[in-house]
């Protein structure tokens, strides 16, 4: 079963310089992703970066993931 720790590790591994706080019950997850590379990008672009970091896993292992994406300045 996927854990919030998995979500955190996977995003941080796939998205350089990011810091993640994740919660979830194995089916539905939510994560706050903080990354300076989000600067200047709109929400859609930021979410795409996180999904890209997770790759195939969104299709195969993660049912739902709510995201909040912030730069360190926005926290």
């Amino acid at each position: 079963m996927v854990t919030p720790e998995n979500i955190k590790t996977w995003i941080e591994e796939g998205l350089a310089n990011s810091e993640v706080q994740a919660q979830g019950d194995g089916q539905h997850f939510s994560a706050i992703v903080i990354c300076p590379e989000f600067a200047g990008k709109n929400t859609l672009a930021r979410h795409r970066m996180v999904y890209d970091a997770l790759g195939d896993r969104m299709q195969t292992q993660i049912h739902a993931l709510s995201l909040q994406t912030l730069t360190p300045d926005e926290v």
Partner: protein
């Protein structure tokens, strides 16, 4: 018509399209239900909706088409806007209402 062509036609023929699980009156997923709610909160009631649960080809097809892994998905004037989280954020900033005028 391929699934891609079907999807392209739907988003071209309709100004606002929500790809969702279930129907607006009977959503089958909390996020899809919330997306419908957001649209209605913006005063948009006559949007087109596609129930991806009815057709597995569309369910996968829309994810490939948008390069986005989850449903619901909102299209306005042929452009992909985002999923539920993004709709909520845009609603809170007043941006969703602007787009739907």
């Amino acid at each position: 018509m391929s699934v891609t062509e079907q999807i392209q036609q739907t988003i071209t023929d309709n100004e606002v399209v929500l790809f969702m699980k279930g129907t607006p009156d009977f959503p089958q997923c909390g996020f899809s239900g919330k997306a419908v709610h957001m649209l209605r909160q913006c005063g948009c009631h006559d949007f087109a909706s596609v129930n991806v649960l009815e057709d597995p080809d569309v369910r996968q097809g829309i994810k490939d088409f948008s390069n986005w892994p989850t449903v619901p998905q909102l299209y306005i004037k042929g452009e992909f806007i985002g999923g539920c989280d993004i709709m909520v954020e845009m609603f809170e900033k007043g941006e969703l209402q602007e787009l739907l005028k």
